[in-house]
Symmetry: C2
C-alpha cells in the first residue's frame, strides 16, 4: 500500500520545475542535485513526464526541461497515475472489465470503492500550484528568521 519512489519523485520533479521556472532550461543534473535523487534514475522519470507532455524538453547543449503549463493544471493525482499506474487499492476496480466472477457477491468490494474514492478525493484536489504556494510561504517566513 505504498506509493513508490517513481511517483513521489515525479511529484517532486514537477514542484522543482515549477519553483525554479525562470524561463531558462532546467537540467536533470540540477534537479537531481537539489532533490538528492540519482541523476540517471531521474532521467527515466522525467522522460515519462515528457512523453505525457507535462514538461517540455530542449535537446542538445544548453538544453533541459521546463514545466509545460501553469502549475495549477497539474494535480498530484495526474502525476501519480501517470507514473504509478492506477491508484485503486484493488485490481477489481481497474479498467472497465471486471474479470473477477465474485464481484457480484463480494461484500468487500464496496469498501475498496470507498477507499478508492477517498484516495482520489485527496490527490485530485491538490495541485503543484498548491504545493508551490506553501513552499513559498515557508520560504518567506524563513526570511524573517535571519
Amino acid at each position: 500500500m505504498k506509493i513508490s519512489t517513481k511517483g513521489r519523485y515525479a511529484v517532486r520533479v514537477m514542484l522543482d520545475l515549477a519553483a525554479n521556472n525562470t524561463g531558462e532550461c532546467i537540467k536533470v543534473k540540477q534537479i537531481a542535485e537539489r532533490q538528492g535523487i540519482s541523476e540517471k534514475y531521474l532521467e527515466q522519470i522525467i522522460s515519462i513526464l515528457n512523453r505525457a507532455g507535462y514538461v517540455k524538453s530542449v535537446r542538445g547543449a544548453q538544453g533541459g526541461y521546463r514545466i509545460a503549463k501553469d502549475p495549477k493544471n497539474y494535480t498530484i493525482g495526474m502525476i501519480l497515475r501517470l507514473t504509478e499506474g492506477s491508484l485503486s487499492p484493488v485490481a477489481c476496480l481497474d479498467g472497465d472489465v471486471n474479470e473477477c466472477e465474485r464481484c457480484d457477491t463480494c461484500e468487500t468490494l464496496s469498501v475498496w470503492k470507498d477507499l478508492a474514492d477517498a484516495i482520489d478525493n485527496v490527490v485530485d484536489n491538490v495541485t503543484i500550484a498548491d504545493l508551490l504556494e506553501k513552499q513559498q510561504a515557508r520560504l518567506g517566513a524563513m526570511a524573517y528568521m535571519i
Copy 2:
C-alpha cells in the same frame, strides 16, 4: 498502491467466520472452498489472525476456528494493518522516528498525511459487522427472487 491478497483474504476470512458462526468449529478447508482460496495459503493467513487473537483455534480432529469476539469489534483497518503492515502511503509516516532529513522542507509530506488520514477514515469506520449486515440484506433480497 495495491492491497495484497494477504490483507484482502484476511478480511474475507473474518467475514466468512462471522457469517458462518454457529458455535461449531469452522475448518480451514471449508473457508478455502467457500472463498476459492488455496487451503495452504489460507492456513498461513488465518494463523496471523489467530496469533493476534482475532480468531480462536481448536486443534486436533473436529477442530477449527471461530471468530473471537463480536464482528462489530473488528474494523477492516485492524485486519489490514495486522496482515499488511502499515497502511500509510509513504514510509516517512511510519513509526515515530522520521529518518528522512528532508521532512522539514518536504512540501509533499502534507499530501501524504492527508492521504493517510483519508485512508484511515475509510478502513477504520467499516467493521466486519457492517459487511455481514450487507451480505445478509442481499441474501434476504435474493430469497424473494426464487
